[in-house]
């Protein structure tokens, strides 16, 4: 690692994740090596107003042996470092108000991204949210976009999974972490992390190695998430949520904000629906509606473009009745039995067939719903 990067690592370590303090201190010297020199000489004139803690850290980290150990650790763990000054620093990110002074990354960090779109949403999402996130992630990746996500539980992971399922995209996902680069959060997402890297994507964070995923980290992280992207899609957000903060942040950075509408009675859709009604976000129902803001070649503007077409008559007598019943909302097996005049065994057999032909899908609690994403039922006159 070159001398300058070492000095950036030193000042970043000392100021932790406070880019404003970083810039302030840097501005007092002609260049960073002078600042480093000053600390080594115990010349604290320029540091008179910084706190005791920061000054201690400045002194500890200025030691060459400390920096040697730090750099060796980063190298050993395959962690790359890119400073705000460097050529490789993402252009979009450098345009925001307070870009991180440096980024740790794992994987391949591209300078220019093809259509980076952030997808954010609740961690405790509904099945609807998960399904939509996966589908939109897949469609975005299919159309060459890169999905930027926080890789947390819920919407984040679903979006990443959807995007990763597209083989043709050589950088489907960028993960922006709210913890150290060597910390996996949630713990069982290790496989997903690895897959992002394997598929040509990258994990980035500005937090020091070993930083735990503390609640206060996430708003700080979210500005990078939106900063790296050209647009932000909000899938599900509750009444007051971190997701809304990300959306506010994105607007301040001048990014396009999109929201997926939900049912007005659904608590997990209150946030997104409000963004739409207030005109803060553009409502979207498919990937094309997002991409059309940035490119002329956005693709079909239907959600289920790839869906199979099945005729109503081909469903059979009981199948038709099940379809008609489910058109009025999801139902469990017993409700279907009340609705349709047939025996439990006939219903079971038909349900299996309809599940396999993807006309319907099964939700937890043995509740059935129409699988409109995979199959469209047409009526032939």
């Amino acid at each position: 690692m070159d001398e300058t990067t070492r000095h950036w690592l030193w000042l970043h370590y000392a100021t932790s994740t406070n880019p404003r303090l970083f810039c302030e201190l840097l501005s007092r010297f002609d260049d960073i090596s002078e600042a480093h020199e000053a600390i080594l000489k115990k010349d604290f004139d320029a540091f008179s107003d910084v706190s005791e803690t920061v000054r201690d850290r400045l002194v500890t980290a200025a030691d060459e042996r400390f920096l040697d150990r730090y750099c060796a650790w980063l190298e050993r763990n395959g962690v790359g470092v890119v400073t705000a000054e460097s050529e490789e620093y993402p252009t979009l990110l450098s345009e925001i108000y307070d870009p991180p002074s440096l980024l740790f990354y794992k994987g391949r960090l591209p300078k220019e991204l093809n259509l980076p779109i952030a997808m954010v949403g609740a961690r405790s999402c509904t099945d609807y949210g998960r399904e939509v996130a996966e589908l939109l992630g897949e469609q975005l990746a299919e159309r060459g976009a890169t999905v930027v996500t926080g890789l947390a539980a819920g919407i984040d992971s679903a979006a990443a999974k959807g995007a990763l399922s597209v083989g043709s995209n050589d950088c489907p996902v960028i993960g922006v972490l709210g913890c150290g680069i060597d910390v996996t959060y949630p713990q069982n997402n290790g496989d997903l992390y690895q897959k992002v890297i394997d598929r040509g994507g990258v994990l980035v964070t500005e937090f020091l190695p070993k930083t735990p995923p503390l609640a206060q980290n996430f708003p700080i992280r979210n500005r990078i998430l939106s900063g790296l992207s050209r647009g932000v899609v909000v899938i599900e957000a509750g009444e007051r949520s971190g997701t809304s903060i990300t959306a506010d942040c994105a607007r301040e950075q001048g990014r396009e904000v999109f929201a997926v509408p939900g049912r007005i009675t659904d608590p997990m859709s209150v946030g997104t629906n409000r963004m739409i009604t207030r005109g803060e976000a553009k409502p979207v129902t498919c990937a094309a509606e997002i991409l059309t803001e940035f490119t002329d070649d956005a693709g079909d503007d239907v959600l289920n473009g790839a869906a199979k077409k099945v005729t109503f008559t081909s469903l059979g007598a009981i199948g038709q009745e099940i379809y008609m019943a489910l058109l009025q909302g999801e139902k469990d097996a017993d409700e279907l039995l009340d609705w349709i005049d047939c025996s439990a065994q006939d219903l079971n057999a038909t349900l299996t067939r309809m599940l396999f032909s993807e006309v319907i899908k099964q939700l937890p609690g043995r509740i059935y719903a129409l699988d409109t994403i995979h199959t469209v039922v047409t009526f032939d006159q």
Partner: protein
């Protein structure tokens, strides 16, 4: 003088004849029991002493040696009180030598009354097979013993009456041989009392018809426990052979003392989830049967399945597959039958509300995964039917539409079981669930459309080879319930429904 009286011993379900030999010789008054007696046998000296005196005889003041042959097998329990007393009286000359081929069993009270013992049925069945046909048993055990066809069973009330009988003074009337009057059934909860849950009831019916294990999964209050408790009401009646098998096991634990004799009602065992592996599988120094053997030919209900200790659940795997269990202890090794219908119940997630449409689930995906992970894949594979039970709404509770009573369902189940018995006559099994590789190939071979359906299911549900075979077996039962000799594709389609539980596949 030397005297011999024959009695019987038991190691697990296997009996062996025991000869009680008594020698009385002159010398310093002394009493010694040899032949590996345990404490209960050794203490018999005090009971025998008092019982002889209170029955109007003199206890000989001489050197007495009681030998229980064969001398290298451990003798346990109080079974030998009566034969020891008899042999002492015989050796003392109070009684003429007893005829050969009679077996004497019983515990003595101090006043000479004969008390019931445990394990009478397995002992007598074994002895009868070995050529013994005359039995003297405690009066309270006579009901149990009287089911052995062709044997003469004398119910003994006290020592004095036995002596009078043997002397030919007041003969004891042999117990009336009891004919088997058919099984009885428990209808503690009738199917008609369960509101809604038509789909789950159908699954329960299939489970019982083919003796398939079943897992009920549902939100709290969806009626899992109630449905499980209603299952005994649709079980087919026990046959005589089944009743004997079950009674033998219950007899060893002493549970049959003072009862009408035979377990005619299919057992329903519901151990608490704190149960240890030994209590479920069997154990103790004497390798006693556990809950799974006590549930033989009946139902083993494990409520809150994930709350059981993991090692306890894993221990169930082998008996579930084999239908028997071998319990090995330092002192004894025993093999007990354990063919039971496993009914297990669990919540869909730690908070219980996953899949509920009225209450939100607060569990994270990781928590649900961990909860479901407490039940290992191999154990789940051995459970043929998985059914998710939906919440019961207000409408269903207040529904006045009459539901089917247990009796109707039981009739269908019995008919399906009869079909199976007929089919497997030559194969040595009774139900579809017991089919193994070769038999599955012979009796369930999907073709054409069914094969395509199953191939789809195999891929989509990521079935293991074992789970796949379970689907075939369940389809066979569904066809049997319809009295259809061939398994049609809709039968397979329904069987697949019982393996597609979203909780276990979706995460």
């Amino acid at each position: 003088m030397l005297a011999k009286v024959e009695s019987y011993g038991l190691v697990a379900l296997n009996g062996y004849p025991v000869t009680v030999e008594t020698d009385i010789s002159s010398g310093m008054p002394n009493y010694e029991t040899v032949g590996l007696p345990d404490t209960a046998v050794r203490e018999s000296r005090e009971r025998v002493h008092a019982a002889i005196r209170h029955s109007g005889f003199m206890f000989p003041q001489a050197r007495i040696t009681v030998n229980l042959a064969p001398a290298d097998l451990k003798k346990e329990g109080s079974v030998y009180d009566l034969p020891i007393a008899l042999s002492i009286l015989e050796a003392n000359g109070d009684l003429r030598p007893t005829p050969k081929g009679m077996i004497v069993l019983g515990e003595l009270a101090l006043d000479g009354t004969v008390r019931p013992i445990s394990g009478i049925l397995p002992m007598l069945i074994d002895a009868y097979d070995k050529g013994y046909s005359v039995f003297y048993v405690p009066k309270d055990n006579a009901a149990e013993a009287a089911y052995i066809r062709g044997a003469t069973v004398f119910p003994v009330e006290n020592l004095a009456s036995l002596i009078q009988h043997l002397r030919g003074e007041t003969p004891i009337t042999p117990a009336e041989p009891k004919p088997f009057t058919g099984g009885t059934y428990n209808n503690a909860v009738d199917f008609s009392e369960i509101r809604g849950q038509t789909a789950a009831k159908r699954a329960a019916e299939i489970a019982v018809a083919g003796n398939h294990n079943i897992l009920l999964c549902g939100t709290p209050g969806s009626g899992k426990t109630m449905l499980a408790r209603a299952i005994p009401s649709i079980l087919p009646d026990m046959t005589f052979e089944e009743a004997l098998e079950t009674t033998k096991i219950h007899s060893i634990t002493g549970a049959m003392k003072g009862t009408s004799g035979l377990v005619t009602e299919r057992p329903f065992r519901a151990p608490h989830h704190g149960a240890s592996a030994a209590s479920l599988i069997g154990g103790g120094t004497r390798a006693m049967p556990g809950e799974i053997s006590l549930a033989h030919n009946g139902v083993l209900f494990l409520d809150e399945l994930p709350e059981f200790q993991r090692n306890v659940l894993e221990a169930l795997r082998q008996p579930l597959e084999d239908g028997f269990v071998t319990v090995s202890r330092a002192a004894a090794t025993a093999t007990y039958p354990a063919k039971f219908l496993l009914v297990a119940a669990m919540n869909p997630c730690p908070c219980g509300n996953r899949g509920s449409r009225t209450k939100p689930c607060t569990c994270t995906a990781a928590q649900i995964k961990r909860y479901a992970g407490r039940i290992s894949g191999p154990l789940l594979d051995r459970i043929d039917l998985h059914i998710e039970m939906t919440e019961v709404g207000y409408r269903e509770i207040t529904d006045r539409k009459p539901a089917e009573p247990s009796e109707t369902v039981r009739a269908r189940v019995t008919a399906a079981r009869a079909l199976q018995r007929e089919r497997f006559k030559a194969d040595g099994i009774r139900t579809n669930a017991e089919m193994k590789g070769e038999l599955i190939r012979r009796y369930c071979n999907p073709t054409g459309e069914s094969e395509k359906l199953l191939r789809d299911a195999f891929k989509r549900l990521q079935l293991s080879a074992r789970a796949y075979q379970r689907v075939l077996k369940v389809a066979r039962t569904i066809a049997d319930l319809e009295n259809s000799p061939e398994i049609r594709s809709e039968h397979y389609a329904e069987a697949i429904q019982y393996r597609s539980m979203s909780m276990l596949s979706d995460l």
